[in-house]
């Protein structure tokens, strides 16, 4: 390979429907505990979709009130996850001009936008908060994290719907390889469980209607799956060049070995049915990481529990990995977390890193009757022990975005 720097994962942070930090999220996931619940808000009563996966720990209970009131909920979640990740990394001493941030979201401060309009309409234009724009702009979470840690090597906010969180990690890899930073704080965040967003997704026929059994509603690869469940959350990874991490004696979780990004150019929302674009993303990630399909010991599937998407992903895995796929345990964490949209890829990057690091992957829950078109080894019922080696995680987004990240065990 070239002389580009190896990139290591040295810090993790998350706040999800399963827990307020990485440890609680990971242990709930290994235990197969669902984070999908009935929506108790009064607005949900009248809607056809009354389930969701809200974060387990309300960010307002974590941040100081005065801090929280000028941050959109998506920014609050990103900040909480970033604080955990930065502490977990040992609060690295880094030249601010060599510290970058890449934090994505799918829809940014959409709830801020809606409530600001309600204020405008109900109380008049004068009372529209001067904090509205910083709270709603899609780069707001990235900028909030950048301010928190004084990052001066660039703050980026890639936007690619449900692939955003993974794309942020892929962009961070590029930033480090290009030599534009020594440390990057990267990840994704989302907080869009609002009646308007719920109905906008519901009217696309994208959401599960299994209101009578919330915990069983997100069922990737199961025959009776009927759509995804909206979730919210955030996850952040601290990435460093190997040289920087080794010089400070950092704890290392894994190597971010490669990334693949493609686009379908097929349809604004529907997955390309053969999974060709997704297959290319997987192949590009493997090539970038200098990995063969037989080097993989785990696949974290995007699998959101939609009828079309899950099957297209299986096809993509078969196309890209061939016969090697038969020996690779696959899991779909959205069966527990719901779909955290722009945060999903980042949360699953975190759990894929932990799977590689600890040699175990969580089960996929709610598969009572596997779809006939699913010819992959999906981990069910219990966590699965993994062989040492490498893993990939997939993320796909409306717009035809396909992102695959490849992690492998870091050499000691």
């Amino acid at each position: 390979m070239t002389d580009r720097p190896a990139v290591l994962v040295t810090g993790l942070g998350a706040t999800t429907p399963l827990g307020g930090d990485v440890a609680s999220t990971w242990s709930a996931m290994l235990a197969g505990r669902p984070g999908v619940r009935a929506l108790t808000d009064t607005w949900a009563e009248e809607l056809p979709v009354r389930i969701g996966a809200a974060v387990a720990v309300d960010p307002q209970d974590v941040l100081q009130r005065v801090r929280a009131r000028t941050l959109d909920r998506s920014q609050q979640l990103a900040l909480i996850a970033a604080q955990e990740a930065w502490a977990d990394a040992g609060t690295p001493a880094v030249d601010p001009e060599r510290l970058a941030v890449v934090v994505a979201s799918g829809v940014g401060g959409v709830v801020t936008l809606i409530s600001a309009y309600e204020t405008f309409r109900d109380k008049g234009p004068r009372l529209v908060s001067p904090h509205t724009i910083p709270m709603l702009m899609p780069n707001g979470p990235a900028a909030t994290v950048g301010l928190e840690f004084g990052a001066r090597a660039g703050v980026h906010a890639p936007v690619s719907a449900c692939a955003s969180g993974s794309e942020a990690v892929a962009v961070a890899l590029d930033v480090l390889r290009a030599g534009r930073a020594d440390v990057v704080i990267c990840g994704g965040t989302e907080a869009a469980i609002h009646p308007l967003c719920v109905m906008a997704f519901a009217n696309m026929r994208a959401l599960s209607l299994r209101n009578d059994d919330p915990a069983a509603a997100s069922r990737p690869f199961d025959k009776a799956r009927d759509g995804f469940v909206m979730g919210e959350g955030a996850a952040i990874l601290v990435l460093e060049t190997e040289q920087h991490a080794r010089a400070r004696g950092a704890k290392v979780y894994a190597e971010l070995a490669g990334a693949g990004i493609t686009s379908d150019a097929h349809h604004i929302a529907a997955p390309e049915p053969t999974g060709a674009g997704a297959a290319r993303a997987i192949q590009l990630a493997l090539r970038d990481a200098d990995l063969a399909p037989t080097d993989l010991n785990h696949v974290n599937a995007h699998a959101t529990s939609t009828p079309l998407g899950d099957v297209a992903e299986c096809l993509a895995l078969r196309t890209s990995l061939g016969a090697a796929l038969d020996g690779i345990p696959v899991t779909a964490p959205k069966s527990m977390t719901g779909h955290m949209l722009g945060a999903a890829g980042a949360v699953e990057a975190v759990t894929t890193v932990l799977a590689v690091n600890e040699g175990v992957c969580p089960p996929t829950i709610n598969i009572d009757d596997p779809d006939d078109d699913v010819d992959i080894d999906v981990v069910r019922f219990e966590p699965r022990k993994l062989q040492p080696g490498a893993a990939i995680t997939n993320s796909f987004g409306f717009g035809g975005h396909n992102v695959t990240l490849a992690f492998r065990e870091a050499s000691a």
């Binding site: 100081q64 009130r65 005065v66 801090r67 009131r69 000028t70 004068r126 009372l127 908060s129 001067p130 904090h131 910083p134």
Partner: protein, 82 residues
């Protein structure tokens, strides 16, 4: 309206918006240099003061309100005029 009444109203608004404790909001404190209030929160504070005291504080006037005393005096005089 008495100065003290306006002062305590301003202190409540500032605590609510910025978290600066009410007791720290004293007449000779400068909004930016002493209380470290950022420009966006300052806009929010003045709009809240307008609502509470039934006055108008145009941007040209707001620019001259450096200290808490400046704001209290402005509200007092324009409130009397209105």
């Amino acid at each position: 309206m008495e100065d003290t009444e306006i002062l305590s109203g301003m202190a409540e608004i500032i605590q609510e918006i910025t978290g600066v404790p009410k007791g720290d909001v004293q007449p000779d404190k400068a909004f930016i240099d002493d209380l470290e209030i950022d420009s966006l929160s300052m806009v929010e504070i003045l709009v809240a003061a307008e609502e509470r005291f039934g006055v108008r504080i145009p941007d040209e006037a707001a620019r001259d309100l450096r200290t808490v005393r400046d704001a209290v005096q402005y509200i007092k005089t324009t409130g009397v005029a209105a």
